[in-house]
């Protein structure tokens, strides 16, 4: 199940709201959340609900063990064991195929390719359990006695399948003491609507064009590939950040403050800046739980960078193009720390923006094409190393057909709208209340209506049988 679906909006959510607000007792409310979260997951992965349960139980039991034997070697053993099991689960379900394929390329004998399907959300909840175990081991938190607290932390449906990656400390207070207020609920609605709009209006529509324009069998052109990659950059931003917005909004509605995940990444001035604005919860996880423990930039700087960026890329997908994408950013960050930052800071601001935009777009080429050869080909076309024309008639049509959406998407990916409205409100406080009290609610409903219409529209599936 995804948030941007008719089933979630018009069946799951209303039933959940009714079940939650029927009770006044926090304990009952938390159990409602747990049950609905498991139902949410089971709807998409009926069998792997067992995995979610198993991972949570392992986390719970081992954390209590670590707590009990704190200070002894047994605690360390339990910690290492628990983390390994979690990584093992992730490695098996996500990376077994990749490992086998690569081994087969070098080994003299052939290992059969394992047919494993990837349970959704596994990359998120295994990381969160590892966070939790680490925090317990380090003494940052006490392992809670009650299993329901861990269950709620791991399974809480807003962040379950697509993040943000939250830490137990983020919501510890709120599990014990959720403050559901009218203001909070309303803020949650607004945040959710923004996310819904980002996903359904921007990401989905942009995505339709991306798959057509970047199709390898299409009549490509130099500008065509550039346009396609730009559209993809916008699509993936609105898709991922929209989903995070919806998660944060839903969390807020129930009194939980999930950590932010995006901060206008496309206005970054350098790669380091970019990764402090893109998928912030993942970057934060790798920084706090891998990079710094390994020595950060004090000891073995290059090795640590390599490990972290390899893992960042690899986390996004079990394929070499993702690893290359991660290492590519690692390399940029390293070069920036050596000399590039100094140059960029000394140059006029627009130079940094151009550098970052180009760097980001090239990065997305590696991200989009799972086939390395296709990625290299696309880059070749983009930088003039092919015999393709600059533009084609088909591209003209696609460009005109998407121009307005494209421009609005670019503007919406920057804080321009927020700043403008902020300035206007500063100058005119009464307008601010007017906007807040009336414009925002109406805008939210407009987004909901538009999203609903588009979602219904995308169910249109005519029988194209006549193609013979």
């Amino acid at each position: 199940m995804v948030f941007s679906s008719l089933f979630f909006l018009y069946l799951f959510l209303p039933v959940l709201l009714m079940a939650y607000f029927v009770f006044k007792n926090t304990t009952y409310r938390n159990w409602v959340l747990i049950l609905f979260s498991f139902a949410f997951y089971a709807w998409g992965e009926p069998i792997w609900i067992i995995l979610l349960l198993l991972a949570s139980i392992i986390g719970y039991v081992f954390a209590l063990g670590i707590e009990r034997y704190r200070g002894t070697g047994l605690a360390k053993l339990l910690f290492v064991l628990a983390v390994s099991v979690n990584i093992g689960i992730l490695a098996f379900f996500k990376y077994a195929g990749f490992l086998v394929d690569n081994l087969n390329a070098v080994l003299p004998f052939h290992i059969p390719h394992p047919e494993v399907t990837l349970p959704i959300g596994i990359s998120f909840f295994t990381f969160e359990i590892i966070c939790y175990l680490t925090d317990v081991y380090k003494g940052v938190i006490e392992a809670p006695r009650s299993p329901k607290k861990l269950l709620l932390y791991v399974s809480f449906f807003p962040h379950l399948v697509a993040g943000p990656i939250i830490r137990y400390t983020d919501i510890q207070q709120q599990i014990d003491n959720p403050k559901v207020t009218l203001a909070g609920f309303s803020e949650g609605i607004t945040r959710f609507m923004i996310g819904l709009g980002k996903k359904v209006i921007f990401a989905n529509l942009l995505g339709e064009s991306v798959s057509v324009i970047l199709n390898p069998s299409a009549d490509s052109s130099v500008l065509g590939i550039w346009f396609g990659v730009c559209l993809f950059a916008l699509q993936i931003y609105f898709d991922f950040s929209g989903y995070s917005d919806m998660a944060i909004g839903l969390g807020k509605m129930f009194g939980f403050n999930l950590r932010e995940n995006f901060n206008y990444p496309y206005i970054s001035k350098n790669a380091g800046d970019f990764w402090r604005r893109w998928n912030m919860s993942l970057g934060g996880f790798f920084r706090d739980y891998v990079y710094i423990p390994l020595g950060g930039n004090r000891r073995f700087h290059v090795r640590n960078l390599f490990v972290v960026w390899f893992l960042t890329g690899f986390w996004h997908g079990a394929s070499w193009n993702f690893i290359i994408w991660g290492l590519y950013f690692g390399l940029l960050i390293y070069l920036e720390s050596l000399f590039l930052r100094k140059w960029l800071d000394a140059a006029p601001k627009f130079v940094a923006h151009i550098y970052m935009t180009l760097a980001m777009l090239v990065g997305w080429v590696w991200f989009y094409f799972t086939d390395l050869w296709a990625a290299v080909k696309a880059l070749g076309i983009m930088f003039g190393a092919s015999s393709l024309p600059l533009t084609t008639v088909e591209l003209e049509i696609y460009f005109k057909e998407n121009l307005l959406l494209f421009l609005i998407a670019i503007i919406a990916s920057t804080p321009l709208a927020k700043w403008t409205i902020g300035r206007i409100c500063q100058a005119n406080p009464r307008l601010q209340t007017g906007l807040q009290d009336y414009a925002v609610p109406v805008f939210n409903v407009a987004l909901l209506i538009a999203a609903t219409i588009l979602l219904v529209g995308s169910t249109y599936n005519p029988f194209l049988y006549y193609r013979f």
Partner: protein, 417 residues
């Protein structure tokens, strides 16, 4: 702050609960979507097995989406809304790639990139070019597809009795005759494709130059605007060339009584829901056969039904008006005429032949048609059994675009072996 919170919450709850209630209480009586020509997903049965296989939840999602309140109107509104993403400058040209998704869910990359590089333009999608008020399907030439098709026809010729005469008619699609060079070059040349294909055919197979006839009459209403088929007029011109090839005289068109059906919105409209197409529907002109005939069509289960070769009543049933010709696409059909000249023709066809077959009635004792997509008898056995004297392969340029038909033809020659 309180006021904003209250209004926001009230609007949200009213809308979410309101629409959910309307949805819940709405009648789920529809079984078929006329617009999409497919069955509407019914409420799936719940069993533990089906749940754990994921079938139940997937079907339920489809059921929920298919039966959503106001779906048919919202679908049209949604398509119109999507037009807003562009800027209308210059020609009103647009490209629509149709490949629908029933679940209204786009499981896109949200950091877990699974199918980030997947393509939507796979073989199950169609690309339409809509120029002002006309729709065209773009043609992309695949030499290997053309080769496979020629091979299949050659194999057929060498497998049947040498006395059976075999012909090939390739029908071009409308984009070939678009006078706007700028947009025409988006599509490959069908002339080149057909020439190449014809070269590969066995010399004993008669080639019908339908292309030439259609080219001559390109400024007439020979193709529909909102549908991918040719009109009955276009089929007639192709028929005249077929007569040339077999050495017979074509019956003049004015010998036929004609009728017109307005408001035809065809396959291209259904695939795109484009508003310009909707406001400029086609007119089907049909020509009623004058030769006494009995037309029996056979379903895939072997049931026979007697129908009219050209039946304007089909236009009223909302099936898709093109079914006026031959009643639609069936595995095979037989038309017995009052001619007693011993000539029996079998047309191995795609739906382009539907508008063409009626013109054959004055020339043959029996006219059969075979649809390689559906027939479940071996084609070669059929020809022998019914003592066919002439076989015409009539297909549109799709056979030079993908090898689906070639594969089917081979299958139908292998059946039962």
């Amino acid at each position: 702050m309180k006021r904003q919170a209250k209004l926001n919450i009230i609007l949200f709850l009213v809308f979410i609960f309101g629409l959910s209630a309307v949805n819940l209480l709405g009648a789920k009586s529809q079984t078929v979507s006329q617009l999409e020509q497919r069955a509407i997903q019914q409420r799936p049965a719940f069993t533990i097995d089906r749940f754990f296989e994921g079938k139940f939840t997937r079907e339920y999602d489809n059921f929920f989406a298919d039966n959503f309140a106001f779906r048919t109107s919202l679908v049209q509104v949604g398509t119109d809304m999507k037009q807003l993403k562009g800027m209308p400058v210059g020609d009103t040209a647009s490209i629509v790639v149709q490949g629908g998704d029933n679940m209204a869910v786009n499981m896109n990359a949200t950091g877990e990139a699974t199918e980030a590089g997947a393509t939507a333009a796979s073989s199950t999608t169609s690309k339409y070019l809509i120029l002002n008020d006309r729709a065209f399907t773009l043609f992309a030439y695949s030499p290997s597809a053309a080769e496979k098709y020629a091979e299949a026809l050659n194999r057929f010729k060498s497998s049947v009795d040498p006395k059976v005469r075999v012909y090939s008619l390739l029908a071009p699609t409308s984009i070939e005759f678009l006078d706007n060079e700028k947009y025409k070059q988006m599509s490959d040349s069908q002339k080149v494709a057909f020439d190449h294909l014809n070269e590969l055919l066995d010399p004993s197979i008669g080639r019908v130059d339908a292309y030439g006839a259609l080219n001559e009459h390109r400024s007439e209403y020979i193709y529909f605007r909102t549908d991918h088929h040719w009109t009955a007029l276009g089929a007639y011109y192709a028929y005249t060339k077929f007569m040339d090839t077999i050495g017979d005289k074509p019956v003049p068109l004015d010998r036929y009584e004609s009728g017109e059906i307005e408001g035809f919105l065809g396959t291209a409209y259904k695939g795109t829901l484009n508003v310009d197409l909707k406001s400029n529907p086609d007119t089907i002109t049909y020509y009623t056969p004058f030769v006494d005939n009995t037309y029996t069509m056979y379903t895939s289960k072997g049931k026979a039904a007697v129908k009219k070769v050209v039946d304007p009543n089909y236009a009223k049933r909302g099936n898709g008006f093109y079914a006026v010709f031959l009643g639609g696409d069936y595995p095979w059909g037989e038309i017995k005429t009052s001619n007693k000249n011993g000539k029996r023709i079998a047309v191995v066809k795609d739906s382009y032949a539907n508008a063409f077959v009626p013109y054959l009635l004055p020339h043959f004792e029996k006219v059969y048609y075979l649809d390689p997509r559906h027939m479940n008898e071996n084609m070669l056995d059929f020809v022998k059994r019914e003592k066919i004297t002439d076989v015409l392969f009539l297909n549109n340029s799709t056979v030079a675009r993908n090898d689906g038909i070639a594969k089917l033809l081979n299958e139908k020659m292998d059946l039962g072996k």
